[in-house]
Symmetry: C2
Subunit: 338 residues, 2 copies
């Protein structure tokens, strides 16, 4: 009909009421007589009216956007969590804005503008380190929820997977298969999630009474390449493990690649486990046995937490740890008899 989008005034005119009534009919319907409510509804349908979000945000001093900040959008863990986040946000009338920092504090700071300019109401953080320079660290942060791991600076609620428990399940699997000489390929980057996975590994080893002497720990940086490298380093030593427990799937994939390149068969010669259950894990040869992060759920819970924060509801819990599941595929078998 009209050229420019309908405003609340158009609706009011057609419904023959005031704009205040239209606004109320939308947001506080119970305070409006049923008959007028109907007239308004009709007028809205007629005009195809959608409230102008900018005017609304301006008036309310509050945006309906959530900023999702991740160091790397391409991270295979990222997208399915994003789906969970987005679904939940949309269900509550929020939109999702994305930003990737590429681990660059400068870029992180720029995203802060979304808040000072009122374009976002809250933030989901995909990293344990605040992606801002130190000068801004002191400034009051917008309502924020961490994902995967607690945010370093503390005080920020987060939802993730129980890394300790998951890692423990992984070692236990290996131990149950008969492995005694297990190498943990870790991630030297200072992230609590990784530290916890290593602790879970140690805990399992302890519980099985496996002596310190037969443990091997190597640190990479969580990339496929570093997994490959770890294999190379290990082959320089005289004592090899029978199993590799890796801090994440990327590392595990690297280990598998390195092992295969040397002509070894998995799981006949070596067993390998990962952590995350990245899509790729299922399509390795053999399939990678790993620990699944319930990504959709993580996203959903994180957004729910943030929404609670935004509505001033005291969040029920400030840390949500989801239960990790073992995904058994074919990269684990009994150790080779020497």
């Amino acid at each position: 009909m009209s050229n420019s989008p309908a405003t609340i005034e158009d609706v009011a005119r057609i419904a023959e009421v005031s704009i205040a009534t239209v606004s109320r009919a939308i947001h506080l319907p119970e305070k409006v007589a049923v008959s007028t409510r109907l007239k308004v509804a009709h007028a809205i349908a007629l005009t195809g009216y959608t409230p102008n979000a900018n005017a609304r945000s301006l008036r309310l001093g509050k945006s309906n956007m959530i900023l999702v900040v991740a160091p790397d959008i391409g991270d295979p863990n990222f997208s399915s969590i994003l789906v969970g986040l987005e679904n939940e946000a949309r269900a509550h009338g929020y939109g999702v804005l994305i930003g990737h920092t590429q681990n660059d504090a400068q870029r992180g700071v720029e995203y802060l503008k979304f808040f000072s300019s009122n374009q976002a109401a809250g933030m989901i953080l995909f990293t344990g380190i605040l992606p801002f320079g130190h000068q801004t660290m002191t400034a009051r942060l917008p309502p924020t929820v961490g994902v995967f791991e607690p945010v370093f600076n503390g005080g920020i609620p987060y939802v993730g997977v129980d890394d300790l428990e998951g890692a423990r399940k992984a070692v236990e699997l290996l131990i149950a298969e008969g492995h005694r000489r297990i190498a943990f390929i870790g991630d030297a980057r200072n992230r609590l999630a990784y530290v916890r996975r290593r602790m879970g590994c140690e805990a399992g080893l302890d519980a099985a009474g496996i002596p310190e002497a037969s443990r091997i720990v190597l640190d990479g940086d969580g990339t496929i390449e570093s997994g490959r490298l770890a294999v190379d380093q290990l082959f320089l030593r005289d004592t090899l493990p029978t199993a590799f427990m890796c801090v994440n799937d990327q590392t595990a994939i690297g280990v598998m690649l390195g092992l295969t390149a040397r002509g070894y068969d998995i799981p006949r010669d070596f067993s390998v486990t990962g952590f995350d259950d990245v899509p790729q894990a299922a399509f390795m040869q053999p399939g990678l046995t790993t620990i699944r992060q319930p990504r959709g759920l993580i996203g959903k819970h994180a957004m729910q937490l943030l929404l609670q924060l935004l509505s001033d509801t005291e969040p029920a819990q400030t840390e949500i740890l989801l239960r990790p599941d073992v995904v058994v595929r074919n990269s684990v078998g009994p150790p080779r008899r020497l």
Copy 2:
């Protein structure tokens, strides 16, 4: 300092000028005396002022957000394009909003609200089919640019890769290795990109004078599973190809998996090519030889095109086809002598 974010008025007061001057100092600096410009700059620095985007959008009737609509955020092709889009958008003061339709027209329609509510200025479409119900098809669309493939309804500029050329390069590679009996595993879903890849394959076959009789064409749906399935179907026939040219990497991975499961060696027994150069392709065993889409570039160009549209600049071209590159890995070799 102050509790609520600084407004233009705070800046004006400190700089001892009117708010109009502040506004001009920001947007039309050349119309402001250098001395006052400096005073304003100083006041801005002092207050940490950031213009309220909502007020600005309201006043201007224009948002500074771009909506990116994709059927599936988890698509391995998606994220690196998103990075390209986001970088370019940010460089021009735009933010990127994401939406995924999951091929559900209903959800697509809901994203249209971002425009009627003035929350987004333009749209990037990751699908060849308008993700809206037919009733809305007639409504005027916001400035839109398609990615990957032309949007079905026509009239929408797009940027993608030259599928025809890429597919042709792939067959030529196969033919150069000596293959004569090549199966094309396509995608039955009605998407121009896929049709073009098939046409490119045919063209290469034609040019090499390979008779119709020795060609095999099978259609799947672009998933790993459908690649596997294609192998099964082919083994029911009495004549097998020596090479599989797949419409995309997912399909190729499925084919490789199916072949390997049957105990065949790639590339000794069969050669396989893909299309896209999905991250996973590099880590297959053997590495998948495929055609690379320059994803970062695609994103960048698409956003540039959209930005031109938004600034009423007549776009230089309405269709940008980027050159695809062959990525040679180890899934292609000479055909086995029978």
